[in-house]
Symmetry: D2
Subunit: 376 residues, 4 copies
Amino acid sequence: MIEDKFKDECGVMAVHTHPEASTLTYLGLHQLQHRGQESAGIVSSDGARLHLHKSMGLVADIFTEEALNKLPGAIAIGHKRYSTTGDSAVLNAQPIMVDCNKGMIALAHNGNLVNAWEIRHRLEAQGSIFQTTSDTEVIVHLIAQSREQTLADAVCDALRRLEGAFSLVMMTRDRVFAVRDPRGFRPLSMGRIHNGGGDERDTIVFASETCAFDLIGAVYERDVKPGEMVVVGPEGVSSRFFATEMKQSSCIFEHVYFSRPDSRVFGRPVQISRELMGRQLAKESPVQADVVVPVPDSGVTAAIGFSAESGIPFRFGLIRNHYVGRTFIEPEQTVRDFGVKLKLNPVRSLLAGRRVVLIDDSIVRGTTSRKIVRLV
Amino acid sequence: MIEDKFKDECGVMAVHTHPEASTLTYLGLHQLQHRGQESAGIVSSDGARLHLHKSMGLVADIFTEEALNKLPGAIAIGHKRYSTTGDSAVLNAQPIMVDCNKGMIALAHNGNLVNAWEIRHRLEAQGSIFQTTSDTEVIVHLIAQSREQTLADAVCDALRRLEGAFSLVMMTRDRVFAVRDPRGFRPLSMGRIHNGGGDERDTIVFASETCAFDLIGAVYERDVKPGEMVVVGPEGVSSRFFATEMKQSSCIFEHVYFSRPDSRVFGRPVQISRELMGRQLAKESPVQADVVVPVPDSGVTAAIGFSAESGIPFRFGLIRNHYVGRTFIEPEQTVRDFGVKLKLNPVRSLLAGRRVVLIDDSIVRGTTSRKIVRLV
Amino acid sequence: MIEDKFKDECGVMAVHTHPEASTLTYLGLHQLQHRGQESAGIVSSDGARLHLHKSMGLVADIFTEEALNKLPGAIAIGHKRYSTTGDSAVLNAQPIMVDCNKGMIALAHNGNLVNAWEIRHRLEAQGSIFQTTSDTEVIVHLIAQSREQTLADAVCDALRRLEGAFSLVMMTRDRVFAVRDPRGFRPLSMGRIHNGGGDERDTIVFASETCAFDLIGAVYERDVKPGEMVVVGPEGVSSRFFATEMKQSSCIFEHVYFSRPDSRVFGRPVQISRELMGRQLAKESPVQADVVVPVPDSGVTAAIGFSAESGIPFRFGLIRNHYVGRTFIEPEQTVRDFGVKLKLNPVRSLLAGRRVVLIDDSIVRGTTSRKIVRLV
Amino acid sequence: MIEDKFKDECGVMAVHTHPEASTLTYLGLHQLQHRGQESAGIVSSDGARLHLHKSMGLVADIFTEEALNKLPGAIAIGHKRYSTTGDSAVLNAQPIMVDCNKGMIALAHNGNLVNAWEIRHRLEAQGSIFQTTSDTEVIVHLIAQSREQTLADAVCDALRRLEGAFSLVMMTRDRVFAVRDPRGFRPLSMGRIHNGGGDERDTIVFASETCAFDLIGAVYERDVKPGEMVVVGPEGVSSRFFATEMKQSSCIFEHVYFSRPDSRVFGRPVQISRELMGRQLAKESPVQADVVVPVPDSGVTAAIGFSAESGIPFRFGLIRNHYVGRTFIEPEQTVRDFGVKLKLNPVRSLLAGRRVVLIDDSIVRGTTSRKIVRLV
């Protein structure tokens, strides 16, 4: 593979009926930060109209107390994105919020539509205008142009025209919609905050990963199913399938490195998947070595599995510097493998003169791996 | 009148074919800053695609060297806006840039459409989505949906559907369009930078006020006429009228206080208009007084006219503090007329015990005037 | 003269016993902003200890509500400075606050000591350390090392060793000291806020210019006299002379352009001085001309005086752009006299074909004047 | 113990003769960031004078390219501090730079002087002024007031008067001094960058921890010894002892949690110390359990040691969120143990229904530990 890492993961979050909906959404996005540090946005509804705030940067920098105060109401959705190209990054930040014949709608999307450009060209030919280059704008056009009478029908009509991966949350003045594509490529889970007073008084939440639930005191309930649309409104929670479930093809990288190890993704704890992968590797490729060393942080669990299976001791032989993430000024007189050294430092006392098994989350990152091996 | 000041003026600027098109546009917007300090934006074309940068704030803060470097190309348009309400201010910043069946289009608008909501509701009923609340988005929808074959025809078709005030500049990959409504309510002037080598090598510029030309070395040529659309493209400058000129009703406040005194607006120097207004006032309302004092800055010229006509000496009896414009922390133990005092301070030695004629630009600002009179 | 402008003016402010001492000081500094836009600082006393906040920038940017909340207490002094050279600018910002055998002392200084380096070298030889390059640090060393028993005596002892210009305000936990050098080179005025309940309940304020009093509701009382030290403490206001008044040599530039025209400086309204200077110029150098035009803002009053004396009409033929003050990006293809054009724009309609008398505040700024004349 | 954590560690760094001295110092400070995130500063020497830049915040935010360009020269020292109390934080940031009879001196200090206030009171009585509340200012006063003829002698004279912990680096125009107190309480190591051309052309570096050497390509040479002063100057490296080594009492917390595991501190790899502590704990307090879980990051190595000794499997049962470090907005409707949850999230699938041995770096943090135990 050519690229060092796939970078198209995003995180979405939704909260239906909670006095601090936008604050909970912000905390959820904070937990999903590993899915994207480039931009973040939240739309809230105060029952009458929608309020939007989105910007480039980290969640904690974007959502100050002042910003959250401008996002009133009991319903909110949020989005966290990894990376965009080009200078129109802010324009492409999500959620996207529009006004149309179905009223005000906001939508946040994690995925990749394979027929987005085709649909867009058809819509443009009919006189539609586009203000972003994101797939999400295509979806809202389809919803607005649907001839179906109700919004729910119009959404289903629009979703049936899409091909590719889409886990999305959508909101109107009083409703939240949560949807997964028929193949279930990206995760989307549903949780519940018990407020007392029966099911109908509970807060319903949706998030790309369950680690977002833990911080806000929500309990994991179930995954949104492939091809399903869950609607939460004043009348309660309802579900319908806009398409028959197709052969499931969940994204393998969710378990390998996108997701946090404390999340449950596609119905299975990520930590356990990773440990099993490490064990499997030890069975498939047994080696003679003195020590098993992970590339932190995502390689840790697999390395523990490898160690447990092989009996070779596990040691933290590479230390990660957690203050990286900003631009760094390199010395002109170049230090070899500077970029990798900035992030990782080998523990000489553990590695010197030993045979080392180095476990990374994946071998996608060819060039980086080579540098790390050289370091070690 | 109820309001202190009308606040709906904006400034627009366009440059066709200059190696530093976005820098000239930025300097022009800087000169138009008195027409709006809330947000500013520029779109440039490098011949292949359009580049957009817009943000809240002052021109000099928004367009850093880094920002201008991301606006390459020889064609650019810009916009400066006064004030918006609500939290969606960034969304409503201009220029608006869209992709449609006529290609990429950017548009900046100074004015107020009276039938904007009517058109919008009709478009929404047909399935169009709206991402802002600005009139400008209505215009681009109309252009995109026009059945006319060429862009110029489509623009004229769209403009004929608009009612109200609109002085606008528009651009595509290779062309700039400059338009004024049939009544010519807002100003829009055309200028020229002589680059040597004949007319076809000149840079053509457009701006809301001619003071934008002086800084960039452009020479005023003429006003865009009411109902006229001037098009500048690879083939040169051409002009057509999309509507017959109607009874002209230029905005009186342009001469009274919107425009800078060094600008020529509606074909007449603003400075001269203001002096004549002062003289007229002296003729219509002669008074016995010791001194004529202007409310700076916009009342100065009228006060000079009043003084010249009446023979009463002109003196600077009110000093303006030019560092205002940020949020100020007031003492809790309130100082009387604090807000006015922060901006204006009377010169006691000039005013004490004298009969004072106080000349402001207009009596729109009733409450402020009363406070100023109290100060004096 | 070689330089365009003298740039060593600063502004000082002090407030003794007011519940919002630091807020009033901040507002006073705001009014003194024309005396320096580079840095500002305030020290307050809550009765037990002193609190300092100083930074580079404009008053309104430095003193946010949060910053003022960290400056509690009923006594405060402040400082505003024009310009420093070198990279140690923050270190040299004032007030300077130290702890010594006389307790905590803060000091803000407007002036220039001619024997500062001489004293400094002597102090260093004795083992003193210096952390800034400002004259002010020399003064506090002298106070700390004085053998006098009381602080007031020690201050007088220190002041007697200084040569040059110094208008300074100083504070301890419970007292404010205001001092002017024996020649009275720089201004320093005393004002009073009547709080009701008799003189001893009044707030006493000091400022470089009286325009600082107007905004905070203080009434001008008198100037601090050359060689005088006014002390405000729990026991009330007292005065003593640390030196006999010498031949007064007040800085002429205070009246010419440092001070605001609405201030009373050296006992005389600045506005009136400037008008008289204009009249004097008209008498000394009579000319035949069509119009008198000021270089705004500081040349306005002298031009009015010139016009009044000569009978030649006064007109605003140069418009100043008030948004300057930030860094501006120049086009590479240089515009002639760009820097001046950015600040001033001639009104063609007033100047074309006329004989113009151009009045600036002073001819110090030779190069700029030449550019302005070329513009006109 | 009462406090959650001791917070008085700092980091120091020095570079003698390297064309990019300030950049290397900045990178070293970056590696020492775990020793303090509150403020950072660097002083460089261009051979003629010293240049200082210090500010509140993270290393990468403070030292932009622009800031480093203002720190020219081949010699530099730097400082990173953890935390200060009060609002005078910037004043207390280090290095401290002064001018005195020994020339310009800059000094950065990691430690705590027990007789600082006593010395300070004596110096104040003699007329010295103090501008900060940091111990460091006491040291420079002592150096300035020493009667010794050479700077090296004066420094030794000053150091002999100090009691307590001090690992410090100091610089003049052309020399770097590195010093450790006679008990060797805080670490300080010396390294070398081989530039080719023999020892005298090497770059000598000093740092609180050896992890700072790895990033800049320096090789660990030795620790500065207790009571030793190493001087690096144009004449090369020399060493002298200002005091006889006393009974060594190195700070135990350096190995427990201050230092990075990839550093060698007090002559021993931190990683190995921590693993041995974990093994020791397993021997001293054997328990029956299903899984050993570390509190990341500092408890990881001890947990590995505990697991290796006890045979109980090691698992990552707590996930740390690395984006924390900013202010977080809590929901009003408080989530239980919110602060801990923000940092750590338990992996339910690993912990549910199991007997867990939880290994933290230390039990200093009593309250936090209790919350973590409750989480688990």
